[in-house]
C-alpha cells in the first residue's frame, strides 16, 4: 500500500537524520532529554508539513529563479508561528530548546524537502511527505535522547530508571552527543551492510 511505503521510507530507508544526515545541529543539542526531543520533533513536523503544503500550493506561481528565497520566507513564517506559540504555551520547553527553535528555519531537512518534493508534487502528497519525514526525524531524535537521558541522567521523562546507578554526566554534555550519534549511525550502517551483503 502506498501509505505503508511512504512511512517505511520516512522512518527507515530515508530517515532524514540517520540516513540522509540532514538536520544535524539541532539534533545533537536537543537530544538531552525525551521531552526536548519530542517537543522539537513536533515543532519540526508542524513546520515541515505546513511549509510543504504551502510550497506545493504555490509551486506554479513561484518563478524558478526566486524559489529559494520564497521557500525561505514561507519556512521562516511557520518557524516564527511555532516560536510564538511555544513562548506562550510551553515556555519551559522554549527555554530548554533555546536558540534551536529559530534555527529550525535553517534545518536542511525542510528546505531539502521543499526543493525536492513539494515544489514538484500535489498538496496532499507533499503534506504526507512532510509528515512522514518529520516523524522519521522525531523518531531518530527520540532514539538519541533515550540513550543520552538514561545513561547521562538515569531518568526517563523525569523518573529514575536504574537503581543505584550514578549517571555518566558526559552523555548529556557535548561529547556525549557526538558519541551517541556515532554509535547509532554505526549500528544503522552495520545493518545496512549486512542486508546488502546478504
Amino acid at each position: 500500500m502506498h501509505i505503508k511505503d511512504e512511512i517505511k521510507r520516512g522512518l527507515f530507508t530515508e530517515n532524514p537524520l540517520l540516513v540522509l544526515v540532514l538536520g544535524l545541529c539541532p539534533s545533537l543539542a536537543v537530544s538531552t532529554s525525551m521531552v526536548n526531543a519530542i517537543g522539537m520533533g513536533i515543532a519540526v513536523i508542524f513546520v515541515l508539513t505546513g511549509s510543504n503544503m504551502i510550497v506545493s500550493l504555490l509551486r506554479n506561481l513561484i518563478p524558478a529563479k526566486v524559489r529559494i528565497p520564497c521557500f525561505i520566507v514561507i519556512i521562516a513564517t511557520f518557524v516564527t508561528i511555532v516560536q510564538l506559540a511555544m513562548k506562550a504555551y510551553v515556555p519551559a520547553l522554549d527555554r530548554q530548546l533555546g536558540i534551536f527553535v529559530p534555527l529550525i528555519v535553517v534545518n536542511c531537512i525542510i528546505l531539502a524537502r521543499a526543493e525536492a518534493y513539494a515544489s514538484k508534487n500535489g498538496v496532499f502528497g507533499s503534506a504526507a511527505d512532510g509528515l512522514v519525514m518529520g516523524l522519521g526525524y522525531t523518531m531518530s531524535l527520540c532514539i538519541l535522547s533515550l540513550i543520552r537521558e538514561i545513561l547521562g541522567t538515569n531518568k526517563f521523562f523525569g523518573k529514575l530508571v536504574i537503581p543505584g546507578y550514578d549517571p555518566m554526566l558526559i552523555f548529556i554534555l557535548a561529547p556525549g552527543g557526538f558519541f551517541t550519534i556515532a554509535f547509532v549511525m554505526g549500528l544503522v550502517a552495520h545493518f545496512r551492510l549486512r542486508k546488502a551483503g546478504r
Binding site: 508561528i81 529514575l160 530508571v161
Partner: protein, 218 residues
C-alpha cells in the same frame, strides 16, 4: 525585465502574507506570554514567602530595587522579597530572595537560568524519588529544588560559606543539614562551582544590603 518584475512581485506578495500571518499570531500570543511571566513571578513569590496572608508590591527608591514585595501576616510585615540576578557561567541566573525582619533568609527561588544543562541547570533541579515502574505519569509530590531550599535559615549578618566536605545537600541527613545552616554554609553542585559561587555571592551581598536599608528605623 519582465522576469525581474515577476520576481519582485511574487516575493513581495509572499512576504506580505507572511508578515500578516506572523502579526496575527503575535497578537494572539502576546497576552498569553505576558500572563505566563506574571504567573511565574507569583509562583516564585508564594514559594519564598510561605505562610503570609498577603503579598503586597511596593515601589522602591535607589538603592532599593524598583519593585519589591512585602509579606504580611495579619497586620505586620514579616518578610520582604526581591528579584535579582547573579552573573552565572553562561547566563544571568534570576533569583527571588526573601529575608525576614530578623535578617534571616527565608527562601530562595531560581526563576530563570540558562546554564549548562546537567551542571549549572541543576540549580533548578528537584530530586525525584520515583522510578519508571512506579508509573510513568504517576503524580509526584513536587519537591522544591534542593539547591534553593538550602538557603533557608541562613543569616545575612555573616558571610555564606560553601561547604565541600560532604557532598550535595539532598544526600545529607537532618542533623548534617542543621549543622550546615548553623554554620551559614551551603553545598555546591558537583561540577558547577562557578554557578554556585555566583548565586552565593549575589545572595550574600544583596540580601545584606537590602536588610540594612529596610530594617533601619525610619
Amino acid at each position: 525585465m519582465g522576469d525581474l518584475i515577476k520576481l519582485i512581485v511574487v516575493l513581495f506578495v509572499i512576504s506580505t502574507f507572511a508578515g500578516l500571518a506572523i502579526a496575527f499570531t503575535s497578537a494572539r500570543t502576546t497576552p498569553a506570554i505576558a500572563a505566563q511571566l506574571a504567573a511565574a513571578k507569583q509562583e516564585a513569590l508564594k514559594t519564598v514567602l510561605p505562610g503570609c496572608d498577603r503579598i503586597e508590591q511596593r515601589d522602591g527608591t535607589a538603592p532599593l530595587p524598583e519593585t519589591y514585595w512585602e509579606g504580611v501576616r495579619g497586620e505586620t510585615v514579616v518578610a520582604w522579597a526581591f528579584e535579582t540576578a547573579a552573573r552565572g557561567y553562561s547566563s544571568d541566573v534570576k533569583l527571588m530572595v526573601s529575608i525576614d525582619t530578623a535578617g534571616t533568609i527565608m527562601g530562595l527561588t531560581v526563576i530563570e537560568q540558562g546554564e549548562t544543562p546537567g551542571l549549572g541547570s541543576r540549580t533548578q533541579e528537584s530530586i525525584s524519588d520515583k522510578y519508571v515502574w512506579n508509573g510513568l505519569f504517576a503524580a509526584e509530590r513536587k519537591r522544591p529544588p534542593w539547591f534553593s531550599s538550602q538557603f533557608a535559615g541562613l543569616s545575612t549578618a555573616r558571610p555564606i560559606v560553601i561547604d565541600r566536605s560532604g557532598g550535595e545537600w539532598h544526600r545529607m541527613d537532618e542533623t548534617r543539614k542543621r549543622a550546615l545552616t548553623g554554620a551559614n554554609a551551603v553545598t555546591a553542585i558537583t561540577g558547577a562551582t562557578i554557578s554556585t559561587r555566583a548565586v552565593v555571592a549575589c545572595v550574600e551581598k544583596k540580601a545584606a544590603g537590602w536588610y540594612q536599608l529596610l530594617a533601619r528605623p525610619e
